[in-house]
């Protein structure tokens, strides 16, 4: 080949140069580039939604974790104590002591605000009772400085974190515009402070008009006991069913029918399982209403198809050569499954189970029908067995209940509850990842 034969004209005719792309290649490359762009755009949109979701959840929910408290320190003398105890309205007397302490503190800081008994009640409810019971329980503290941290009302909370402003405030028996001056003044002298709201995490639900005191703790326990039921029923049943169907059952019309039905069950709306649970477990079997045991049973029904489908998929993914190898050295069918196939399928089974549990944890609709939504979980169960049978709520049910209450203070609690729920879900998924890594020793 000579140099002249390498001219472009020549190359385009028959001998193409590798240095220049021909039209087809250019088209193919362009198509590939475009496809990558679509993919990246899709991911970007997904991420954007995720960021937006998290941002709005955090923005609305985080205030639920802080609480406005009125922090005041004063000394109760023996005479004051005796005098108050001799009165008819004992708590009213303590409230007067509290108010004078407050006034003193304000005066000491050179601030002059007018307020009365009613205003104090709008701010911190009736502090007299709290103060009295403290001194009755700790009589030795009489005469020494004691500091009290009293939860401020949810309206004050709302004012401080911007939910209520002077412009939007409508005077009511809950909060007056004049109270806001007092709040501002108290904030200036650090009597009103912001504190971490442990009660939100560990406490129980409050009544409909006290969002400040509402906590998720009891419902977390309710969810926990439900998940125990789900785990200990659906994992063994689901895995046993899958192993039988995948490894032992003959392939015939019956097993085909069962297979189709399991896939269908996985797609049944969860509320159907709820009404089934109501009919079977509560009305027929006579189990208690609103009990985590019943919730767990209903969620087990719902989770089983998910676990069976994922377990069967991971069993089917184990290469048949492993089964042949085991049978070839004289292992029985069961030995080949339990010694070789199951360990290899374990990561998939665990992932499926945890995803099933996570789904069940966030499920609300079936709980509606068995009486867990709307139940006011005011108490922790007293015994371990009671955890299963005592009426309780569950996290998503509690969130739903809060979100449907009239007081806007509960709105923030609902978002806060969602943050806790999401934390549990993220933890569960992290556990799934860790377990998968640990079991996945595919050499």
């Amino acid at each position: 080949m000579t140099d002249t034969s390498m001219t472009p004209a020549d190359a385009s005719k028959k001998k193409s140069s590798l240095l220049a792309q021909d039209a087809r290649t250019r088209k193919r490359n362009a198509a590939e580039t475009r496809f990558r762009m679509y993919g990246m755009a899709a991911i970007a949109v997904g991420l954007l939604f995720l960021v937006f979701l998290f941002a709005s959840i955090l923005r609305s929910g985080l205030p639920a974790f802080t609480q406005t408290v009125v922090n005041i320190e004063f000394v109760l003398t023996k005479e004051q104590f005796d005098k108050a105890e001799s009165k008819m309205l004992k708590t009213g007397e303590y409230q007067k002591i509290f108010i004078s302490a407050l006034t003193e503190q304000l005066e000491a800081s050179g601030l002059d605000v007018d307020f009365d008994n009613k205003a104090i009640q709008r701010l911190v409810g009736k502090p007299g009772g709290t103060i009295r019971s403290f001194f009755l329980e700790n009589p030795d503290r009489i005469g020494t400085p004691v500091s009290f941290e009293l939860a401020a009302s949810s309206r004050v909370d709302g004012y401080l974190n911007g939910r209520i402003t002077r412009d939007t405030l409508v005077d009511s028996r809950f909060l007056m515009a004049t109270d806001l001056d007092l709040v501002d003044a108290l904030k200036e002298v650090d009597v009103i402070q912001s504190a971490f709201n442990w009660n939100f995490i560990t406490g129980t639900d409050s009544g409909v008009d006290n969002p400040g005191g509402a906590g998720l703790g009891a419902s977390v326990i309710g969810s926990f006991f439900m998940m125990l039921v789900v785990l200990f029923l659906s994992l063994p049943i689901g895995v046993a069913a899958s192993i039988y169907l995948e490894e032992f059952a003959p392939k015939n019309r019956w097993t085909d029918l069962i297979e189709v039905n399991i896939s269908n069950l996985a797609a049944v709306p969860s509320i159907v399982f709820g009404i089934l649970g109501l009919a079977v477990f509560i009305q027929f079997a006579g189990l208690p209403q609103s009990a985590p045991l019943v919730g767990g049973l209903v969620l087990t029904l719902m989770t089983l198809p998910t676990i069976i489908i994922s377990t069967r998929a991971s069993l089917a993914a184990v290469p048949p050569s492993i089964r042949d190898a085991a049978l070839g050295v004289g292992a029985s069918k069961m030995q080949s499954v339990f010694h070789h196939v199951l360990p290899l399928a374990m990561p998939g089974i665990l992932t499926g189970t945890i995803i099933g549990l996570a789904q069940a944890l966030g499920e609300t609709a079936p709980l509606l029908l068995i009486g867990m939504v709307g139940y006011v979980a005011r108490e922790y169960p007293e015994t371990f067995a009671g955890g299963f049978t005592d009426a309780n709520s569950a996290m998503p049910a509690q969130i739903y209940t809060w979100a449907s209450r009239a007081d806007p203070g509960f709105y923030e609690k609902a978002w806060g509850g969602i943050i806790i729920l999401l934390l549990f879900l993220i933890t569960m998924n992290a556990i799934a990842v860790v377990l998968r890594r640990r079991f996945e020793r595919r050499w």
Partner: protein, 255 residues
């Protein structure tokens, strides 16, 4: 060559996969302490017939086996026979090396463990060492018995599988194209090993390579479309075949 006892005898064996008649009227007598090669074009039923001998076909739903197959004159398809027990006696090596995803030691020890062949740990260690020696792989792996079996090279994996098969003290060793996934050097090693194994076992090997059959076997059976066309001394089959189909196959005209 001296004549050996008959180890496996089959009479009028038929195998069906659903409606597909895969093995037709196969009667053959396989000798003890002999390497018998099954050759034939692919799809002619060599593997199917081999898998009848340890009843691996039982695991295929659509597969039906008829006829009479005896090992040491015992009918292995008798309802009283437990295929699991049979398979401990008739070891099998597969086409693709398939070590368990466990350590080399555990691969070999698995069979003896489930059959209770070892009384204690030292016993088991002996069995494993012996099997690995007979699999001609001991020297290569003795320093890394706890390393994963799947980390070995293809040829080593296949020899490990052979060691695993001999560890259960079988009497018959079935090999389905054991070298088809191996390179020439590994193939040579495995062939050498097969010749060794002949001293203790009756070896049946399926191969699509006629050279391999000629190299390792004493007896050869030629299958064609599910029929056993010709069976006899390897030297006779390759130099002086009776059936024209055999001749066409070994001269490369069908296949």
């Amino acid at each position: 060559m001296d004549t050996n006892d008959v180890k496996i005898s089959t009479k009028d064996v038929q195998v069906y996969y659903g409606d597909n008649h895969a093995i037709k009227d196969v009667s053959v007598e396989i000798e003890d302490k002999t390497v018998t090669a099954f050759i034939g074009p692919s799809g002619c039923g060599k593997s199917t017939f081999l898998r009848c001998i340890n009843r691996m076909n039982d695991t295929i739903d659509v597969c039906r086996v008829k006829g009479d197959i005896r090992i040491d004159s015992e009918d292995i398809y008798d309802p009283k026979v437990d295929p699991v027990q049979l398979r401990a006696k008739v070891g099998m090596v597969f086409q693709k090396p398939n070590p368990f995803p466990k350590s080399i030691y555990d691969n070999v020890a698995y069979g003896p463990r489930i059959h209770g062949l070892a009384k204690n740990k030292a016993d088991l260690d002996d069995i494993v060492e012996n099997a690995l020696r007979r699999g001609a792989i001991w020297d290569e792996v003795k320093d890394r018995l706890q390393a994963p079996g799947t980390g070995l090279s293809g040829g080593q994996q296949q020899r490990l599988c052979i060691a695993r098969a001999v560890a259960t003290e079988p009497e018959v060793l079935l090999m389905d194209e054991p070298c088809s996934a191996l390179d020439p050097i590994a193939t040579a090693q495995v062939e050498e090993l097969i010749d060794e194994l002949r001293k203790n076992y009756s070896v049946v090997i399926v191969t699509h390579s006629m050279q391999q059959a000629a190299r390792v076997s004493q007896k050869t059976a030629f299958f064609h479309l599910g029929n056993l066309v010709e069976y006899g001394e390897t030297s006779t089959i390759f130099t002086n075949p009776v059936d024209p189909r055999t001749e066409s196959y070994i001269t490369g005209r069908i296949g």
